[in-house]
Symmetry: C2
Subunit: 402 residues, 2 copies
Amino acid sequence: MALIKNHDLTAVGWTYPEHILSLQPSVVREILKISNRPGVISFAGGLPAPELFPLDEIIESSKRVITKYKGDSVQYSLSLGLTALRKLLAERYSGKNEPTELDNIIITSGSQQAIEMVTRVFVEPGDTILTEYPTYVGALQIFQYHKANVVCADMDEQGLIIEQVEEKIIRYKPKMIYVVSTFQNPTGITMSESRRVALIELAEKYGVPLVDDNPYEELRFKGKHVPTLKSLGGDAVISMSTVSKILAPGLRIGWVNAKKELISILERIKQADDLHAGTLNQYIFLDFVQRGLLDPHIKRICADYGSKRELMLEEMERSFPKEVSWTRPEGGLFLWVTMPKHVSAQNIFDKAIARKVAFVIGQPFYPDGKTLNTFRINYATASKSDILEGIKRLGDILKESI
Amino acid sequence: MALIKNHDLTAVGWTYPEHILSLQPSVVREILKISNRPGVISFAGGLPAPELFPLDEIIESSKRVITKYKGDSVQYSLSLGLTALRKLLAERYSGKNEPTELDNIIITSGSQQAIEMVTRVFVEPGDTILTEYPTYVGALQIFQYHKANVVCADMDEQGLIIEQVEEKIIRYKPKMIYVVSTFQNPTGITMSESRRVALIELAEKYGVPLVDDNPYEELRFKGKHVPTLKSLGGDAVISMSTVSKILAPGLRIGWVNAKKELISILERIKQADDLHAGTLNQYIFLDFVQRGLLDPHIKRICADYGSKRELMLEEMERSFPKEVSWTRPEGGLFLWVTMPKHVSAQNIFDKAIARKVAFVIGQPFYPDGKTLNTFRINYATASKSDILEGIKRLGDILKESI
């Protein structure tokens, strides 16, 4: 009875749209594969340190919520997300000087989906998006998928250079501004308060939605809190975050905090897209917070990451040649290394892999792919002894190559 | 320092694309809200019966996999899904006469997302999709979102009327055919084997991707298994399913079974979209199957739904007037009631709600919204006493109204 049973690639001649075929698996993904080889000291990942996941507490929360909410804990649920979780997040924001109501929050399947859905609302093929240079590579994948034209403004240690932002807004009329304001992925840079205020003023003046992808906000282990874009800009800002860096990425729970009108639009997209985020996972996170475990857990993460960062910066001072500079983030997972213009990070990467140490080259984080002399280091995931050894090896390679 | 702090809808004048603004929360959603009012006997939901969720086993699986896989159980994971789970599904398909390899499977966040992603691959705005009349309302939401033109072929008790299919293919050149081949939502109809073969021949002849949304396949409690479209059509068919009806929808785990080329395209979309499906949830399902619990659990569900269906059909014979007809599905969750043309299901619904019994009117399942005299009944979720009482009340209303 069977007509065809083999899964032959050419048996059925379907055609696929060009913009989808041109979506390539990211370079970063390939680097991560290499860096995961046994024996390699990896500073490459965007991963939180796995030994810090509160596994026993997640088991306990999962048992508690299934016992408490019974069938509801694994049943279909609302596209906006669990009301109790949205309420809790709204209260958490409000308690941090960001007045937020239930209707300002929608739960998403991680903040990647949050970026994706918001992009779909504001960006049609051919439209322009303004970002930092460099920026989060996962966002660039989304923008490419939506056939957006990405233009950038440069950053310094205070974040986006505002003069460039206004110039590019006037010139390119972007439909959305996308930033990672705090402990940016990839650079670790945090935008200063005065830049934030200036950026919001521009977003308002020109009516451009300002998206703040803010997953690292709570991971500050040094320095003074900078008011969030959302707290400064209110309705002008669409803010998003996730449990990925403060609890566990595998739960795929994120959220958007934005004005109600937009949340109601995102609700309809979410419903058509995938109905709702995982019910059990939302309950687990809710329970974890309600039991008062989140803040102490974040403190533990910050202490760990902070001491690793300290150690790494000290070793970089000792081992890296003076021609190389790097950021000194006060939180988050990443720092950013800049080498002299003529030095290729790909070249350094190849040598590093030969000596079993890995990082992510900077190039894929630049929309134009034209900056070749930078790379990203994750200081949060490796052990302290690996940090010392890995940075020494990198220092040797840099000294030989520059 | 704050510029705006109120979440005023009009404070910032963003514009939204028309096709997104026109996405309305579904009528079905509204009906479900009404049907959930206390005291209402509801045959409305698309929900599995919650008392059949194996909650203790889900707790146990969650504990087992976190203990076994440690940090990996809640860490970032692959966009294709867990290799072990994909392998297990491939073996499960292969064991059921659908030769399937690892690379034919991608894990999605439920089968709603599977439909959405496949639609994005094949359908550009303005393209045509051919469906059954009526069809799954969640798919229609996706098609509307993608600005697709939906054309339909009628069904009889054997499923799609093939002559109409060919005529519509020639006339409208659809980019995709979407069917729910088995125990269809909403009608409960299963396409016969000869219709399946004929449909595949047309899909191949005209090179149109044939999507079989097949979540109810395993819920057969009567009659003889009909070979799946995928087993008959191989590469010509894109098949998708989910844990929603066989374990628990709140896990948001579904999958696509299709030729490798398409899976690799879907992988890239999934990565840009939301990185990957929930890691912990995938492990929970994997563990549940590996412990040998899935098949006995499906047997339990089938026994329960089968006996409720029996009871309901008997009571319908007794209570419904002879002018009304209905389907007698051999599996799944739903049956479909057709009244004389002049009778409005909305009118019957209003009367039913007044007597505290609910169902879903048929109209939203028709892409043209033009058929008004049908409605859907879920026989799986209500208790047996509610089934008897609810069908009696419905019978009274129908007798008074026809």
